[in-house]
C-alpha cells in the first residue's frame, strides 16, 4: 500500500515536470533561410521567409521545418525547376532538422551564446546526421538564432543542375536567421 501511495505521488510529480517543460518552448513560423550559389553565368539564390522552428530550452531539443515551395527565387523559372526537377517538392514537400543543442550552458540567459546542435537533417527525402553551428542572441524572451552551413547536394541525392556553360557548385551555402519567441 505504501508503495502504491509512493507511485501515486510520483505520477503527478512527473506531470508537473512536463507541464513545466511546456512553458520553455520558443517558436517561430516566420524564420528566414536563404541559400546562395555562385556560377559564372548566373548566381543562384533563394529565400524562404516561412520557416517554422521550435526550441525546447528545458530538453535542449530543436526542430526546424520548411516547405520547399516557399523558397522564392528572383527568377521564377528557376524556382519552378528547383521544385519540379531538383527537389521534387511534390514528392518531398518539406525539409527539416531535428536535434539537440549540446552542452549545458543556458542559452536563454540574456547575451550571446555560441551553440552547437547535433541531429538529423532531412532534405529531398534523405535523412543525414548533421552538426549545426550557430549563435543565439537572447534577451530572455526572444532567441535570435543565426546559422550558416554547407549542404552537399550529392548527400541528399539532389541532381546537380547543369546550366548552359557551367555547373553549379556541388555545395550550397545556406544561411538562417530565426527569431524564436517564448510561448
Amino acid at each position: 500500500m505504501k508503495k502504491l501511495i509512493l507511485i501515486l505521488l510520483v505520477v503527478p510529480f512527473h506531470f508537473l515536470i512536463s507541464s513545466g517543460n511546456a512553458q520553455t518552448l520558443f517558436s517561430t513560423s516566420a524564420g528566414e533561410v536563404s541559400f546562395y550559389s555562385y556560377t559564372p553565368v548566373e548566381d543562384i539564390n533563394a529565400v524562404n521567409k516561412k520557416i517554422g522552428s521550435i526550441i525546447n530550452s528545458e530538453t535542449r531539443e530543436v526542430a526546424v521545418q520548411m516547405r520547399m515551395t516557399d523558397f522564392s527565387f528572383p527568377n521564377k523559372l528557376m524556382q519552378e525547376h528547383f521544385n519540379e526537377n531538383y527537389l521534387e517538392s511534390e514528392k518531398y514537400p518539406t525539409a527539416s532538422f531535428r536535434g539537440k543543442i549540446t552542452g549545458n550552458e543556458d542559452f536563454t540567459l540574456p547575451g550571446n551564446h555560441a551553440v552547437k546542435a547535433t541531429g538529423k537533417m532531412k532534405i529531398h527525402g534523405v535523412e543525414k546526421p548533421m552538426e549545426l553551428v550557430g549563435q543565439i542572441n537572447s534577451d530572455g524572451k526572444v532567441l535570435k538564432l543565426k546559422l550558416e552551413f554547407l549542404i552537399k547536394l550529392a548527400d541528399y541525392k539532389i541532381e546537380i543542375p547543369t546550366l548552359v556553360f557551367a555547373k553549379i557548385a556541388e555545395e550550397i551555402q545556406v544561411k538562417g536567421v530565426l527569431d524564436l519567441v517564448k510561448k
Binding site: 508503495k3 539564390n45 521550435i54 523559372l77 527539416s96 531535428r98
Partner: protein, 314 residues
C-alpha cells in the same frame, strides 16, 4: 517492498527515457500543425502558358518576359520533292508575354497566317491548393487581320473588308485545370469566338467551342500533351443550304514538350495551321482522317526582369 521499488524505478526510468523522444516528436508535430493551417498551392500545372495551339491556366510571373517563337509547316504527306514533307512552307508567329503581377499577364503576337496581330490578357482567378481543387484562369483577346482586302482564303472564298472594324475578331475563354498528381494535369477550356466578318453568310459570326486537354509527364523534362477543341456549329444546316460540307473542322493536336534550362520546346502534330484562337478554333481546314497533319513547334524562353528581387536577397 523490494519489488515495489523495482517497479517504481522502472516506472521512472521508462518515463525518463521515453519523454524526450515524445517531446521531440511533439516539436515536429507542433510544426506540422502550423504548416497544415497555411494553404499549400499547387505549382507548375503545366510547363508553359500554351498547351499546344491553345492556352493553359499558367500565367507569367511578375516582371518576367516570355518570348514565343512558333512554326507550323505544311502537310507531312505533301511529298519529299515537292514540299520536303511540308517543311518548305512555314507559318510563323512571334509573341511576347509579360507578367504585371503573379496572376495578371498581357501578351501580343504577330502571325504570318493572314498577317494577323493579336493582343490578350490573362488573369488567374483561382489557384489550386489543398483547399481549392482547381486553378481557374480567364482570358480575353482580340486579333486584327491586316491582309489586303479581297484576298482568297484557304477555302477558296474571297475575303473583302468594307471597313477596318471587319478585320477584328475577339476571343473569351475560361481555363479550368487540375493537377491530379505530379504527372497528370487535365484542363477544360470553354471558349467563345466572335469574328466581325466571316467568309460566308452561312457561317456564324459567333461560335462556341469546348476545349479539353492535358499532359502526362514522362520524366522531369519530357511531357506528352494533347488538346482538342469541339466546335458547336450546325454542319448539316450548312450542307443543306449550300450542298457543300462545312469547310472547317475541330482542332486536334498531340505533342511532346521538352524542357531544358531556360527553354521549353513544344513539338507537335496538329490539323491546324493557325496559332491563335481565331485561326485554330475558327479556321481549321485540315482533318486527321484526310491526313492533313501539320508538324509544328513552339519555343518559349522566359527572362526575369526583376532586378529589385535580386538586390533584396544580397
Amino acid at each position: 517492498m523490494r519489488y515495489n521499488f523495482i517497479a517504481l524505478f522502472l516506472f521512472i526510468a521508462f518515463f525518463g527515457y521515453v519523454s524526450p523522444a515524445v517531446a521531440q516528436d511533439d516539436l515536429m508535430s507542433l510544426l506540422d500543425e502550423d504548416f497544415a493551417k497555411k494553404p499549400t498551392y499547387t505549382f507548375a500545372t503545366f510547363k508553359a502558358t500554351r498547351l499546344i495551339n491553345g492556352r493553359t491556366v499558367e500565367t507569367i510571373s511578375k516582371k518576367h518576359l516570355n518570348f514565343w517563337i512558333s512554326h507550323r509547316f505544311g502537310a507531312v504527306n505533301s511529298g519529299f520533292i515537292n514540299n520536303f514533307f511540308g517543311l518548305d512552307e512555314a507559318k510563323i508567329r512571334l509573341g511576347l508575354e509579360y507578367g504585371i503581377t503573379d496572376r495578371l499577364m498581357i501578351g501580343a503576337g504577330r502571325s504570318s497566317v493572314e498577317k494577323t496581330y493579336d493582343f490578350y490578357s490573362k488573369y488567374k482567378v483561382l489557384r489550386q491548393s489543398n483547399k481549392i481543387p482547381v486553378t481557374v484562369t480567364a482570358m480575353g483577346g482580340m486579333a486584327i487581320n491586316t491582309m489586303t482586302t479581297g484576298y482568297i482564303t484557304e477555302t477558296g472564298a474571297e475575303m473583302k473588308f468594307f471597313n477596318n472594324l471587319e478585320r477584328y475578331s475577339y476571343t473569351g475563354q475560361v481555363l479550368i485545370a487540375r493537377k491530379f498528381n505530379e504527372k497528370i494535369s487535365l484542363q477544360l477550356m470553354p471558349t467563345i469566338l466572335h469574328q466581325n466578318r466571316v467568309e460566308s453568310a452561312l457561317i456564324d459570326n459567333t461560335m462556341l467551342s469546348m476545349g479539353g486537354g492535358g499532359r502526362y509527364k514522362l520524366s522531369n523534362r519530357i511531357t506528352l500533351s494533347a488538346e482538342y477543341y469541339y466546335n458547336v456549329v450546325d454542319r448539316t444546316q450548312y450542307k443543306n443550304d449550300t450542298g457543300l460540307p462545312y469547310p472547317y473542322h475541330n482542332s486536334l493536336a498531340l505533342g511532346v514538350d521538352i524542357e531544358t534550362g531556360g527553354h521549353v520546346f513544344q513539338l507537335h502534330f496538329t490539323n491546324s495551321k493557325g496559332m491563335i484562337e481565331k485561326q485554330f478554333i475558327g479556321q481549321t481546314i485540315g482533318t486527321w482522317e484526310n491526313k492533313d497533319i501539320f508538324y509544328g513547334f513552339n519555343i518559349a524562353r522566359t527572362f526575369s526582369l526583376d532586378k529589385s528581387a535580386k538586390k533584396k536577397i544580397k
